[in-house]
Amino acid sequence: MSCAHDTAEPRRVLEGVSVLSNERVTEGVGLLVLRAPHVASTVRPGQFVHLRIARGRDFVLRRPFSVHRVRGESIEILYQVLGTGTREMSLLEPGAVCDLVGPLGAGWIVPEGLAHALIVTGGLGAAPLGMLAEQLAASGAAVTVAMGAPTAERLVARGLYEDVARVVDVATDDGSAGVHGFVTALSERLLGEHQFDVVYCCGPEAMQRIVAAQAAVAGVACQVSLERLMACGIGACLSCVVSTHSGLKRACVDGPVFNAEEVLWDSSEIPPKH
């Protein structure tokens, strides 16, 4: 696959940021908007920032969050409240200051001449694909989206995708929107109906694994974004390893986006909720 990336990686910095807004999107999900001029001007779709949410004895390490969208000098982080870190994050008020390291990691790769992309999201997996969907649509590519979530309310960023995609199909576990069932039923059907150049996927790892297998059967390249526990975020500590066909890779610098065919899908590596 050829790569349309610039050759130079964006410079990674420790950037002081301030909270512009932090609002509840739905039960257990928030949208944090940070003024972060350096990251906003350099981040590429699929990259992440390593955020220091708070200080004190319970917050020794940073937390990695993908950048959902960029607007001017601000970046948007869509997050789910799962543990102590994200609970503290939900309490951040406008005007609060903190810092982040970023932009980090290898993001989504857009193959040259891409005409039609399939984006498959599960739950908060909609977060790291928002910026990509916007950029693909702006470049004139056709974007088809399959979204899955437990309920209609949890189909976060659905509006963004409906603004830029040609088709947005949804599935919910409880049937409150779209198809009653898993998003993988949608992706399987879409892969059978259309000719895609690439599949971009993010969500629970079990779901990504299924989508990767479907793409492989359809003969379409697939990229996935994997989550691991991380300490440094810049490639030094080797906490966030991903088992691949070419050995252990680091989610923080070799990923978080990987070619799906490279991944060995070792479920023991999936991080516990944090």
């Binding site: 390490l61 526990l229 300490a231």
Partner: protein
């Protein structure tokens, strides 16, 4: 006034006392965007072994109160890849390089030191006999006097370069280990490596680390590290490199007062990639503000009256 920040650790001359703790800084390249590597006292590399080691299963880290546990397990691509990638990179960086070496057996330590000994980029060795995360060798060599001395003596015979031995805190009496490696030819000792610990998820009844146990680092271990640096520096005549939870310049001052000639910043690198520079600049400022002409005057200046 200008503070003389230089220190000597045996024959190793450092621009300032701030080194990097092995395993927290890779070989420096990952930090080059954040830190002018030539402003460091020294880079202590991530542990290297003769052959490639794949490390432990995931999860490999857990955040704990004021600290973190790790059970990385010395994952590294082996010495040949280390020479090709890391030492080649460091050839263009003006900074002393201390290579941290590990082995599963005495023969592996010796072969590794011999392989690296004539390499121009290697300024010193740090012998890791204190990693709690490997099954064979590692900490087993560093928790009793006889194997600790044997490894030190064998490495000593293999190199004329400065030999630092990194000590484990997971012992009854760290002083007797320090004395044993000093007698066996160590030029300096570095301490402490991580404290063996564990973390449990009460919701799932599972350990937070796949290996169950791992090494505790960060501010949580600083009081233990300070105590051990103080005890060891009072007992040995070789220099002591102090580490364990240094996050700020003040922490570094405390280690020097306890008897350290130099210090290493470890876990702080994960939180703030510029931590080494913050500590070095702060140390200089600490001395300047107090009219201390040479930072080395802090070493062992603890007032216990």
């Amino acid at each position: 006034m200008t503070v003389d920040m230089s220190v000597k650790v045996g024959n190793l001359e450092l621009r300032n006392p701030v080194m990097t703790a092995s395993g927290t800084f890779a070989s420096g390249r990952e930090f080059a965007e954040f830190v002018d590597l030539s402003h460091l006292g020294a880079i202590v590399t991530k542990g290297v072994s003769l052959n490639a080691w794949s490390g432990n299963a995931s999860p490999r880290i857990a955040e704990t109160s004021s600290g973190m546990l790790n059970s990385i397990g010395l994952q590294n691509p082996g010495v040949e890849a280390f020479i090709e990638r890391d030492l080649a990179y460091l050839a263009d960086v003006d900074v002393p390089v201390v290579v941290n070496v590990s082995g599963h057996s005495l023969a592996e330590y010796v072969a590794l030191v011999e392989r690296l000994d004539d390499h121009p980029q290697v300024n010193a060795f740090e012998i890791n006999i204190s990693c709690p995360n490997v099954d064979a060798g590692g900490m087993a060599f560093g928790t009793s006097c006889v194997p600790a001395a044997q490894i030190t003596e064998a490495c000593r015979a293999a190199t004329m370069k400065p030999l630092i031995v990194k000590l484990s805190p997971n012992v009854t009496d760290i002083v007797e280990i320090a004395l044993a490696v000093e007698a066996a030819g160590a030029d300096a000792v570095s301490l402490i490596n991580t404290l063996l610990g564990m973390a449990i998820d009460a919701d799932t009844f599972k350990p937070k680390l796949a290996r169950v146990v791992g090494g505790l680092s960060g501010p949580a271990i600083k009081p233990v590290a300070l105590r051990m640096v103080w005890q060891v520096s009072n007992a040995v005549s070789v220099p002591v490199i102090g580490m364990g939870g240094i996050m700020t310049a003040e922490d570094a001052v405390e280690f020097m007062l306890a008897g350290a000639s130099a210090v290493s910043v470890g876990t702080a690198n994960f939180v703030d990639p510029t931590a080494t520079m913050r500590v070095a600049d702060g140390l200089s400022e600490f001395c300047r503000a107090r009219g201390i002409a040479r930072v080395s005057e802090l070493t062992g200046a603890l007032n216990t009256d």
